[in-house]
Symmetry: D2
Subunit: 452 residues, 4 copies
């Protein structure tokens, strides 16, 4: 019998008759019935999440999510008033505020050296984590990657999650180096290094304004038995374009080379998700990593790793050394439940509108200041040249004008993912969850600064 | 069948087999069992409160109380996602913060013109209120008034609760005036006036240092059919002593006069509670009012009215005009459950120690400054003369020195509950919940000020 | 210079040099400046509320409101770690959960027998209350009653607030009875009775479908020196229509009779507010009472009393006997700040749309079931006949179908505010904050029940 | 002058005159002053923490800590109502519940690839993190390691923190392997592997009942230029004893070998801390890692890394690949502030009492069941033989009897950190924060099971 059924039974079944009568006396029978109906209706979506562990169509309310988290964390042994706790760590906290800061998951998640191993002291946290992994898997599948089969939500950044996967690949497949089509971003490179692997940078080439991986170079470096993995990227700032996932996955399949896809903020884009799905169908993809905050509007700190192969997820989970904070997992679960599929679809549509708006605005700034938009395919961001201007100064001024997040790169500097990019430029994003008025304010301020 | 049983059943009983199996797969069977045991053990006291509605021996934890409040407020119709709400008031709130400020009891309590009538839209709040009334009744009984039979926790101050009772007595018994042994305190007098009744002040007399009701005068004013009630007082500042409850209750019994006892902060004292119990046994007592914050360390705002006669409580509940805020009721329930009988007993013992300490400290201040303690029976406070000093100035200085709550009365001023009291004096309290160090600091500062 | 900016500056700049240097070392100067700007911008609306005490145009965020409440409650002496507390009540609480349940306002509001008197132990609560009263006054003025001059937010239901006003009028003007144009609602009648006054019911008459006060009868009962007040009503269920405020106010002016207006849920309607403003301009209005929850979507429990005459508000505040719960006041403040004028205007427009929709829906139900709409002027509700049907049974069924708030009255029963009303009927409301889909669901269910 | 006092003053005094007058009218001057004093006194410790960044002697209250966290998180740009946010990640959240789950630190901590780099979008989080690191450093210094100079609180388990340090050592010093005196615990070994390093296990030997590192073997493996680091351990379960830190540090100094100390739960023991301090003084220690939850009673998830060398901390911080969750850092800060030095000292004394009690209890169980205590030096735990009994079965039964945390090892199995340990045994802990009654219950249940 399921433990939830058992739990429910135990809680209330043994009320003695006398009490029953008293309760009926207090609250008229039809009111009591309405009370039952209300709480049943309120809890139905919670029950559904616990049972089916799916990404909901409609969002749950905050009350429902909080109640679910409270019930789950109440199953951990640090809540058991009858437990005799003689371990060296027992989920003890110095004051109740800490329980609130952890949503009650004081035992964290995982078991020494295995992120998803059920923790005997923390049945509730273990269940919470499993629900999260399943809901996240369902969300990623419904948002485009129908062909993945397993997921884990890690309490780690995208970069650290990549390190975890690479560590697992080294342990299981003996890889020694990582072919990395150049992206001028520190985190993934640190991830490769942290996992004790050699980074082999694959060059990029300039195609018009766009910076693309040199696919021929990548191909030439791939061969069977080369003890390498490939780390390819879907989302980065223009002028860098996405790596051609299907082509790379085919090359990896042919050469028996593992492929890890850094899909940091690609879930928001149906097109990007489609390209990954095709890659999985057509070739070899070992794991795809996405940020929980960039895609699902949680606080920073978690990632979702998915794979067509359950074993890769398992060996990745086994790479984490110790028990981990539950916070990013709880936050990801809450965000998924508070969003739901319909609202996510709406947010995606809004993102596309905002990107169009950003492009129009930037084009108009460019037209009136003698600059131009860079012709680059990008599903989240847009770039405009700043040639002949003091780009660095413009960036600093925008920061002081409370524009957050634009990226300014000067000709010849790191940042464009290619040597000697021929323009100074600025990048702005229309990411999921952004507000149209923010784009308006940012571009108006840019206009002023670029016209000085 | 009880609605709680029904509720529980509905929530989980219909899980299909497939799901059951998945859950068992996720969490090893023995862990799931431990999870059940933990949550059962955690919820057992909650269940016990809901079923037996008694003042617990051991305190519940904050988690238990919060969970109970969440479950109860989840039964109100404003939480029902399937309700179609077409009333003029539906527990709607402008933002989730308000639900947190109300602990979810957005419908308040009561039904137009009846504080304890079950509210069809608010089964949970109705149940919460009934539980509160029963737990409070049990607490008052176990803390000394075994002979009361009904209680209501009102969301009103002690004074307003007295007004409510007096209003009910006027409506049911036709009383027109209230004999009030003089206490120099505004609230009860306003209560009499608010209820549209005539206050007949009964004089006090000086017995040594003590101020006592003139029992002979009270007796002379009592007679059958006099359309009066008596409002007597157990707790006030020295030099005023408690009214002799047993004597007054006997006089009231003889003259068929209703007696209301203002027991504002008397629950903390076993002696006072004993005197009221004796009064109930020996004569006539209609209602006893106590402050929830002064006795049970809740935020200010609620009272507990008890009576040996359930009908008096009912007619009092019917005197409130409208639906009321649930907050003071929720707070009183929470405080009772977070305390429990054993801890209350400990707090009472500590109060006695603190009072002794206060007396010793004040005596020592008096000795060294040429003053003396007033010889007055009082179970909470203690008074010292300030003859020959600028009493008012000392009071002001103590306030600025962050001593809160001392009471300074100058010779001949209102405050001593008698005309022409022959001393300037200061009163300090050692009330339940006070800290010994506060008494120390306050008396040290007084010593400094009185020695200037 | 603004105080918040000053505060922020001092945090980083007035620190002694050693510390300053360390901080500057830690956080780059331009970042620290951005941090200051952010917190200044976040707190600016809070500061504005504290300084100007006005109903804001734009809503504050929950974070802003919570921060403001925390800062205010932090000024009460129970938060002072250096206070020596020797009173009989000191805002002590048995556990931190209680502080959360009270938003930290453990001292409540008021001072014995005066609701708005500053409480020396609770500077923060006193300030909070004053801010609330001023913001509420500004809101009521901007929402239609420009000619009122004072307001108090009471922690009491509309009915109890009416009792408070009537008590004050009795004390100050010596009124003995209340002329009450008949409304079949228990609370106001209990209020009159609670205040120890005689209710003189003024009859109603039938005008077509509508029930209206018999103005001639009212006029005939009014005369100078009659020791009466009038209690008139703006909002009730059809078929009862609003009392003609301007006419009544003129009659009251002519006869020197105080007029109290029960405007329970009239703030939502510009038309009703306009009629009251005209009444104030044209005649005598002493006080106007409105529910905080019915108009401003707070939890049940508070009222807003306004008056063109500050003294009436003062004497009303002095009628409350004791210190009161702060909760409904805090909730009202929070709701006002979380709404703001622009959003309230939007809600009002939506209410009008919903009322039109309700009327259309009910008319269509009526048409298809052989019933008809009652022709009655009402700004919130709409009524349909149920002639020839089992009205009581329909009401019960709707309750079980989770339709909350409809009102069913059978021919000849209390409820229509007139003797022998010639129809069975049902009332539904489209009150402020209601959702269109609720109206849809309710009327669809009614259609089914009325067609059986 | 203090900034908080300044702030308070400005609130009431620098306001322009009109407002000032209104406020003074509202709240009597002396009350306003008391309000200021209260809030100043309440905030003084908060200010002190922000300015001096030290481990406090006295604990802060929950209100103080929450207020501090709110103020800090209010400095992050996602709170700036005037910011135009056009980055790809902007601390956006789908619903307010998420802000509560993150205590408002939606931006997390760190900057791509550097855990302690100030994040321009998150001045508040950056400051919070720096305060945490400094407070943690001060705590570790005052609790025994006066000779460390830098600290970082990581949002990672002890094992992952070890991996981070080892990764930094590989990057900066080119180490390739880790000499690891055998401990039968998965996490540290995974850490070594995750960092891409070779584990060289150093054998242990049996000395009476105790298992100790074979120091001779370790010495023989150490030599200059060997590209190795040593990972030594202070805390593990008996029969394993702590590694002799001073000796190892001397060997490491002689051979220029980096030494990392896994001090997972050693802060609770003055003796252990003393041994590490001596090691630092006498030889080479690169970094010491301690769990935040095991030592400071936070929820699981963070570690504190300290070093005598600031550069090691810096390079460790640079090894994390990406931005990280703020939650474990916030929780560690809160725990440190809610404890303070005096309370920690008390907890340490209690831990020693509990350990003595545990030993006495176990000895008495052993005596009456024909077993004996293992003679092993251990500052947290105690072990008893289970020879001739079914140890595994006893462990399973204790789990079902709700004894959490005991460790049962059978003869010859992994767990005793040596090959062929000659006893079955059970370990129980008296860790900091444990309750005496838990030890009592656990040993009573063990007695019952061992006597069957």
């Amino acid at each position: 019998m399921s433990f939830m059924r058992g739990w429910a039974k135990r809680r209330y079944i043994d009320l003695d008759n006398d009490i029953e009568k008293r309760l009926t006396d207090l609250i008229p029978e039809n009111m009591a019935r309405r009370g039952r109906i209300t709480i049943d209706a309120l809890l139905a979506p919670v029950k559904d999440i616990l049972n089916r562990q799916r990404f909901p169509d409609k969002p749950l309310t905050e009350r429902q999510v909080e109640l679910m988290l409270t019930l789950l964390s109440s199953m951990d042994t640090d809540k058991d008033p009858g437990a005799a706790r003689v371990g060296e760590r027992e989920g003890r906290t110095i004051a109740p505020l800490l329980d609130r800061l952890s949503a009650g998951f004081n035992h964290g998640i995982g078991r020494s050296g295995h992120l998803t191993a059920p923790q005997p002291k923390a049945a509730g946290a273990s269940l919470m984590q499993q629900v999260t992994n399943h809901v996240a898997l369902d969300a990623i599948r419904r948002l485009g990657l129908e062909n993945v089969r397993a997921a884990i939500v890690t309490p780690l950044s995208t970069g650290m999650s990549i390190a975890l996967i690479l560590g697992a690949l080294r342990r299981t497949l003996g890889i020694k180096e990582v072919l990395y089509p150049r992206i001028d971003h520190a985190s993934p490179r640190r991830a490769i290094s942290f996992a004790g692997l050699q980074e082999i940078r694959v060059s990029t080439i300039l195609e018009g304004d766009a910076v693309q991986v040199d696919l021929a170079e990548l191909e030439s470096r791939l061969s069977k038995g080369n003890e390498a993995a490939v780390l390819a990227t879907t989302t980065f700032f223009p002028p860098r374009e996405s790596d051609p996932m299907k082509d790379i996955a085919k090359l990896c399949a042919e050469s028996d080379t593992p492929l890890v896809i850094n899909n940091a903020y690609g879930v928001q884009s149906e097109t990007i998700m489609h390209s990954i799905r095709s890659a999985i169908d057509a070739g070899r993809v070992d794991a795809v990593v996405q940020s929980s905050d960039k895609n699902f509007l949680t606080p920073v700190g978690g990632s979702i790793i998915v794979s067509p192969d359950k074993e890769i997820i398992d060996s990745t989970a086994e790479t984490y050394a110790g028990r981990a904070t539950a916070a990013p997992v709880v936050q990801t679960l809450a965000a998924l439940l508070l969003t739901g599929h319909e609202e996510y679809t709406r947010l995606r549509a809004e993102q596309i509108e905002n990107l169009t708006y950003l492009r129009d605005q930037l084009r108009s700034v460019a037209d009136s200041t003698g600059q131009r938009l860079l012709e680059v395919k990008n599903h989240v961001a847009c770039a405009m040249t700043l040639d002949g201007l003091d780009a660095r100064e413009i960036g600093a001024r925008l920061y002081n004008l409370r524009v957050t997040g634009p990226r300014v790169v000067e000709k010849g500097e790191e940042g464009s993912s290619v040597d000697n990019y021929p323009h100074d430029y600025i990048v702005m994003n229309a990411a999921i969850g952004a507000k149209r008025e923010h784009i308006e304010q940012a571009t108006v301020k840019l206009h002023k600064e670029a016209s000085r």
